[in-house]
């Protein structure tokens, strides 16, 4: 008797089938590893204040790269305002998210970044060489862990009309003159608004340069010994307290990064330390104010020097990604002058390259008031300066040790105590 054909699938057949199905389902992943080229690369960056900059990337660079290589770039824009670092930390912790990124506070996760020395050295060679200071961030143990893209300059942003009215024809050259001018302006109802809260740029960008110009650094060069505990620090603290009481709006001691933009654009303050974003907003939304805003370099201190704090944009490639080499190829491509220069220009020079080839390009002359942002590079230091930009320095920044030393003094604590507290914290962190 003929056996009827088996209608039911046996256990073994079922196992074979499911294994096959799993194989098919997993195929794209396998293909991604086996193929020479991935189909997409994800690039994470904080959104730019200059809309055109992001648009240029999406509308010009992304299609151009796809046309040239067949690889689609997923541009993952992160919200500005301090949220990007936690996102990056969580990406690194979960080994997922993006193939390459603007690696803010890269000292937190350098181990997760691949060596990009080949790209950085080639780019430096072809475009006039790198500014030295940025190497202290991007180079770790002799290897480039990120390729610097640009600096977001932070300078004094002020209302020229109000300064003129108060009889101040030139922006103050020294911090003492800055205080003097501030007293006059506050008397006329136009106080300064110098951020001192738990932000990540507008507080560091004037308090650190001020401290440095008093001849003080937070740590020594080796990053081993606390250097803050000096009589000059006490002078700097006393100066900031005086500046706050006599020339500033009371609120600024608690300001986060967006607050000074808001206060400036609503005509509540005559001067603050900020990036170029205030002028971008004013020109767009408040054209009258846009005409009377100007920028100036930070004043000089008792040591006769002026300093600026760098806010670096660096790009790094994550080692855990499916194809780090493909991400590196893309990074090399966008740093090629053919792509890089129009990209930088599209941002109206909001981003200043750390490459000397860009020092004198005509793009800087389109809006003369933007020029100080290029000059920042000459006197710009990392907040870790002169110590290494490492994790301990990251802890100092994220726990606002130096910022709070000043803000505590402004809200009533004695100079000696605020310095002692900051020094104790530094010792604990650098332990």
């Amino acid at each position: 008797m003929a056996q009827p054909a088996k209608s039911k699938t046996g256990r073994r057949d079922f196992l074979k089938l499911t294994a096959g199905a799993a194989g098919i389902a997993g195929a794209p992943w396998i293909a991604r590893n086996v193929q020479a080229k991935p189909t997409t690369i994800t690039f994470a960056r904080e959104s730019s204040y200059v809309k055109n900059f992001d648009e240029h990337f999406q509308k010009v660079l992304v299609p151009a790269y796809q046309k040239a290589t067949g690889i689609k770039i997923e541009y993952q824009i992160q919200a500005a305002g301090g949220g990007a670092v936690p996102q990056l930390v969580s990406m690194v912790e979960n080994k997922s998210g993006a193939d390459l990124a603007w690696v803010q506070q890269e000292w937190l996760y350098r181990d997760a970044l691949v060596d990009v020395s080949d790209i950085a050295e080639a780019v430096g060679k072809e475009q006039g060489g790198w500014y030295d200071e940025i190497k202290n961030l991007s180079v770790d143990n002799g290897k480039w862990k990120s390729v610097p893209q640009a600096n977001i300059g932070q300078v004094m942003v002020y209302r020229k009309d109000w300064f003129d009215e108060a009889g101040i024809k030139h922006f103050p050259e020294t911090w003492d003159e800055f205080l003097e001018a501030g007293i006059k302006l506050k008397a006329k109802g136009h106080p300064y608004g110098m951020s001192m809260g738990h932000g990540f740029a507008d507080n560091y960008s004037w308090l650190y340069p001020l401290l440095w110009s008093y001849g003080v650094t937070v740590m020594d060069k080796a990053g081993k010994k606390v250097a803050l505990d000096t009589s000059e620090t006490a002078k700097a603290v006393d100066f900031v307290r005086k500046l706050y009481k006599e020339a500033c709006i009371e609120d600024c001691v608690g300001w986060l990064d967006p607050h000074n933009n808001k206060a400036f654009l609503t005509s509540q303050i005559s001067c603050t330390n900020n990036a170029y974003s205030i002028m971008v907003s004013a020109k767009r939304d408040l054209p009258e104010m846009g005409k009377v805003i100007d920028h100036a370099l930070n004043p000089k201190g008792p040591n006769g020097q002026r300093y600026h704090s760098l806010v670096p944009v660096t790009h790094g490639v994550f080692a855990y990604g499916p194809d780090p080499q493909a991400a590196k190829d893309f990074l090399r491509w966008i740093m090629d002058p053919k792509q890089y220069r129009p990209w930088i220009a599209s941002g109206d020079m909001y981003f200043a390259p750390y490459l000397h080839a860009f020092d004198k390009i005509p793009e800087w002359d389109i809006e003369p008031r933007v020029k100080p942002f290029q000059k920042v590079l000459e006197t710009g230091k990392l907040t870790s300066w002169p110590a290494p930009a490492n994790r301990a320095h990251g802890a100092v920044i994220n726990r606002w040790v130096v910022i709070d030393m000043f803000s505590k003094a402004c809200t009533g604590a004695p100079t000696k105590i605020v310095i002692a507290e900051a020094v104790a914290q530094l010792k604990q962190i650098y332990g």
């Binding site: 930390v89 996760y109 738990h198």
Partner: protein, 315 residues
Amino acid sequence: MSPIVEASRASTLEARAYRRVGFGRLREFVERESVFSWLILTPPVLFLLAFLGYPFFYGVYLSFFRREVAGPATFVGLGNFVTLANDPIFWQSVGNTIKFTGAATLLKAFGGLGMALVMNQNFKFKAITRAMLLLPFIVPTVLSTVAWQWIFDPGLGLFNRLLVVSGLATTGPSWLGTPSMAMVSIIMVNTWRGLPFFGISILAGLQTIPVEQHESATIDGAGTWDRFRHVTLPSLLPVIFIVTTFSIILTFFDFQLVYVLTGGGPANSTHLMATYAYSLSMGAGQMGLGSAVALSMVPVLGLLLVLLTYYVRKD
């Protein structure tokens, strides 16, 4: 009826009965209290284990290690807790958290009780007023906090404009600029947001009090205050207790509001344990130390849970 039809009916009935017996057995099994309760409990338990249990135990594990982002973990025992014990900012954040939770909870409890008593009266537009009062609770915290940022603005904010326009002051206070005012401000926003939770819960409690109790108290000569003191309040106490406990837990762990409004500043005066834990682990990348701060909040939570369980059991 034809015998064929009868036979077929009989067989159908038999099949149904057989199926019913099979189904009945399964049902009997499922309906057993021990089985049924586990069946109902399993999905939420699995959910809690995955989304709360795992992060919690991972946090406990991390708090005993010196572990930085993307770095290896080194066992340090109680080292992180010792570091915290010597960290003035940690103690400041503990103090701030207690102040913040205590003040906000008291304000919410009294305010909520008042709100519920008013909402329990009959007046025009009662329904719409009740709905409006729920708004602070419904609007996402981040969104409402951004609105509060504007309200607290030193020059253009609602409060300071009102003070200036009404002639009460030439310039308003700096709501977020001085340590004490910043604390007052965050307590105010938390109270604003949490008030409806108290109000609506207590209102629900109020509506369960039988009218007869009030009537007999009135007959016995009790005035409005006496009726509130001896009839309304005792009946509401269980609701107030449970709502307050929940609120303490939620307020104790509040994060978004402070993060958006002050970032813990000025000079750490509004740093709560939650914001400090976040800035240590996600900002400074010190996962171990951050976890230790977060874990330090657990004993308070544990104590509250014990109290709550005890109270519910007693009831």
